[in-house]
Symmetry: C2
Subunit: 350 residues, 2 copies
Amino acid sequence: MVTLAEVARHAGVSASTVSYVLSGKRPISGPTRQRVRASIEQLGYQPHAGARALASSRSRIIALMVPLRTDMYVPVMLEIAVAVATTARAHGYDVLLLTGEEGPSALRRVTGSGLAEAVILMDVQLDDERLPVLRAAGPPAVLVGLPGDPAGLDCVDLDFAAAGALCVEHLAALGHREIAVIGESPGVYARHTGFAERTLRGLRERAGRLGLRLLHRPCEGGHDAVAGVLARIFDERPGVSAFVVQNETAVEPLLALLRRTGRAVPEDVSVVAVCAGQVAAQASVALSSVAIPAQELGRRAVERLVAGLARQDGDARPDAGRGPGVELLAPTLTVRDSSGPPPPPSGVRN
Amino acid sequence: MVTLAEVARHAGVSASTVSYVLSGKRPISGPTRQRVRASIEQLGYQPHAGARALASSRSRIIALMVPLRTDMYVPVMLEIAVAVATTARAHGYDVLLLTGEEGPSALRRVTGSGLAEAVILMDVQLDDERLPVLRAAGPPAVLVGLPGDPAGLDCVDLDFAAAGALCVEHLAALGHREIAVIGESPGVYARHTGFAERTLRGLRERAGRLGLRLLHRPCEGGHDAVAGVLARIFDERPGVSAFVVQNETAVEPLLALLRRTGRAVPEDVSVVAVCAGQVAAQASVALSSVAIPAQELGRRAVERLVAGLARQDGDARPDAGRGPGVELLAPTLTVRDSSGPPPPPSGVRN
DNA sequence: CTGAAAGCGCTAACAT
DNA sequence: ATGTTAGCGCTTTCAG
């Protein structure tokens, strides 16, 4: 293995000079820098990560904790993870993959051992058990998602409430007066995953303001579960002319069932989804939808973390990352083929 | 930060004793071990990862390279990644997440810097550009997937050829004589991703042996693409009574289109899939399918890697991991609701 | 602008 | 069974 000392000897300089060429932490004359660079190149030198971490107390590693349970928003999770890794690299960091399984102790472990100098948490619950660890003099952290009490924490998420409102608004503008919401599976609500409840709040609030009727039903994924829920909805509210879906695995079953029961989309009923953009675009009827901005979420999480770490170093630049706090990304609704005006009142159908 | 030296002082022993209590690399008397353990506990000591890596030249980190492009088998990819992380932890390793983006250089980087001591590569292409790095005195590595020439490499994958054969066999046993294959998107074949071609080979070979007609068509995901392919298939081969699908995003569109064109599944046509188990189970008609054993793949990859690393250490145990080479997991076909006997010859329908 | 040298915290001979 | 000690490779004072 090539060491810094060998590079130094080869270049005819001291070890510290090589180090400073690498870090740029002090001015090095042009010629020396050239020679050192050449030696590094020739010898194929690569700094030893462990030695660096030991001497500098900075591992340049960010831990990313993904949920163990992969039952929800799976493509989105992967996309966020990949965006985190990519963005982290762009800032000189590597990413350590942790699963939710180990829970809070994993955070203590990677953080206490100096393995990771910061963490990003995905799939945050309203009263997440990992949060106490973070508040108690924890490491720099950014949550993707919003806990019940985000005080003192750094969070990035889609503004799901606004997303819900946006869906209602879109449907209201088309003339719909009665909407049904096919929600996440009951388990998601039971776990108090914030985004589901926030979406619902946004839906309800805007529906209330615009005077629409709104019916919400949690729903498991899969064809049979959706069939049951759908039947109950039409039973309770025959006047429903539009659906908002927030469960990727319910999307296709819903479309299939509507088709089978002779309801054309969007002629007879409209459907709007809050889900991964790809899912919406590739559905058997391209769905008008609010996409989860997975890449953006991953990217922002890293950027905020890196800004925070720089701040620690005394990089008092006022620009990067607008400081800690909650950052909610504004939702965008993409209109595709699944939403249109409601059918004319029954009996008047042409 | 609590150091090993402090623990040693607190316990009234030398630093090496503490180290050995931790590593178990030499016998320590019961009493001393107790005292050291107690001190560790009380002081909340955590070994410094960097210092350890430096002194021992073992980082206890495995790099996992996932494809950047997330267009295929996405849930499976995440499931593998999570299984890798979980299994690695069970063996005392952590996992570094790399994206395909950086390519071969990422391998050199994490490996040359001692950051990771071994790597797992996912989504391996037939002539993967990362392989030369591995063969050339590279780090211990396991591929999830099969390259064109696996010589000298350690690989784990589903036996896709056997999976294809299994599908044909199942359909043949039901009485089908003419089968169509909805393949992966053309891009996948163009990239020479091995599994798609191996599946096809298995399908063809078994179909040939059993005297079935087989028609293969690559297919993009999404409703429109599937519609086009399906139309062409029925045009060319009106006698087709069964489909094998190997593209998760084509599954629901296919089912929807069959339904719409008045073909009942499985009464009129059978459908068998090679895809994630969850997708098959949750489809609008529960699909008979060969599942991709994601967890098993991730688990085996780590186990083989760890076995290899132990072998390096001189752990000449004959058991663990059956040595390097190619390990193909046997496929399992789960019969669900989408496959049955073909309809009686036309004109005889009841 | 550059060098010398003292650690960073841990492991693993080498002792006893 | 335990202690002593010499590094592992790098960063960062302290000195010029």
